[in-house]
Subunit: 301 residues, 2 copies
């Protein structure tokens, strides 16, 4: 089996997870989680999103949190969905911004209140703005593998947008399985087609484990040459507009899969698991990942 | 990606799942589940085990249930762990018996109270007895991918036993990841090595989703040429001697993965899911699979 020697995991739970939690998460707790993730060796962390605070109250402290980032080599990013968000990310001092638009018209309207045509233009504006502001941009394409049904986003469109945005200058391109519609065959097909048009721009996969195929999709992506993945502590996450779209792939479980196959991440899985268990205690519920719970039990007594 | 066109799933929840349930499951309910599985098109069902009723009270009705099997083409099997069990399976009128021994000395002692040497001899006795009694035997090797830690069962031993038993005449050979220690790389390595010594005897994989790698392991096995898998409704199952060894791979989720990739199973996933939801209502708890719950929600409204 042809597999990479090393993979980069970006922790997105502080954004994709926290944003949907009903219980307000204090900035001090976020800072503590962030410190723990850095100490665990997580190389890239999406710390917040620059969206309107009335729409996502959990992210209202974006600037405050960005003013308190631990020092070091960690790549900190924030999500921006429009030009205003990019400006805020730059003003907050971030060197990286994660841009995102949908590639599915219906999802774009449901989720962002924009038609696909408007979203495509907004993306170009955001990429240009990030460049002018001197921050590196990851462009994220949502619903690449489908929205309401697998395959209801045309692959031609995804490939066309990927080519177009790559030409504008990207740090990386993220393909998101927003509703958990991807499967190993579609992962390989989409990754191969997209990689063929984006040159040296690395592809990042943003997977949700909605239908239980998360780890199988990671395996298929690794075989297709992908070396960057988003994941969230304990599988935090979801999308309020999509029934059952619960949870990114869990960081600990993803690391376990990779380590078992001899692939390095540089992350101490057990330290991430300890943070996750702390969050479970704070949130008052069990998160869907497995390894953060199994790692506390002794299997080799 | 090289994948088979068709896969055979054996439903093992009525044995590997029911055996550990605290609430007694009436024979009439088992009969109803069985009827539902047959109607859903499940081609092979492990209906019970022929073990001592004081050890596994849920299986005390093995003979009674076998006297009431629905007619048709379905392959019905029962698990036997010793010669007495094989005799009972034959006397109960089954044409197929699933034999099983551990390949890990410590697991064999913990789980079956036999040393590895005793287990290996018992297996030979069982295979010979099944042949004399005119019933087809699947030989199952437990803990092939490890017991307390991945790889603590030597692959040489597994290969040696597989060769030895295949020569005695088997309908199939099952490799069990009893404690959920397998990962895609070990799956491919073990399957390739074992297949090379068992000739035409088909390999069956019996996977547990303990560490979340179940579907990734199915994918790796498919790529290695495996076309037969055990699975349990909703992911029922576990092993009382192994902390955290919860659940076979879920039948519905496995079918979803296969169907998504264009692989036929002949099983109506939604009908299996309805049975699983009925069992959840009876048992009073949610089972770990995903698709039996997601299939009731409409994603394409």
């Amino acid at each position: 089996m042809s597999l990479p020697a090393r993979v980069t995991i970006a922790e997105v739970g502080m954004r994709d997870g926290f944003q949907f939690e009903a219980k307000p998460i204090p900035t001090d707790l976020k800072r503590e989680v962030l410190q723990g993730l850095v100490a665990a060796g997580v190389p890239r962390i999406q710390v917040t999103s620059f969206v309107h605070p009335t729409r996502v109250p959990q992210m209202a402290d974006a600037e405050e949190l960005c003013a308190r980032l631990p020092e070091g080599d960690t790549v900190y990013t924030g999500l921006a969905l429009n030009a205003r968000g990019v400006e805020r990310a730059a003003a907050a001092g971030l060197g990286f911004v994660d841009l995102s638009i949908s590639t599915n018209d219906r999802h774009s309207r449901d989720n962002a209140g924009m038609s696909l045509v408007e979203a495509i233009e907004e993306a170009e504006v955001m990429i240009g703005l990030a460049r002018r502001l001197g921050i590196q941009a990851q462009m994220g394409l949502q619903c690449v593998f489908g929205y309401a049904a697998p395959g209801d986003t045309p692959l031609d469109r995804v490939v066309d947008l990927a080519r177009r945005y790559a030409l504008l200058g990207l740090e990386s391109l993220s393909l998101a399985d927003t509703t958990g519609m991807a499967h190993p065959v579609s992962i390989q097909r989409v990754v191969e087609e997209v990689q063929s048009v984006v040159g040296d721009v690395p592809i990042v996969l943003h997977l949700h484990d909605t239908r239980g195929l998360g780890m199988a999709n990671v395996l298929a992506a690794l075989q297709a040459g992908v070396t960057r993945f988003d994941a969230s502590m304990g599988g935090l996450g979801g999308c309020p507009f999509i029934p059952g779209a619960t949870g990114n792939i869990a960081t600990e479980d993803t690391i376990y899969l990779l380590e078992a196959m001899g692939i390095e991440t540089g992350i101490d899985r057990r330290r991430v698991g300890a943070i996750t268990r702390g969050l479970e205690a704070f949130l008052g519920r069990e998160l869907p990942g497995k390894m953060h719970r199994l790692d506390v039990k002794s299997h080799a007594s």
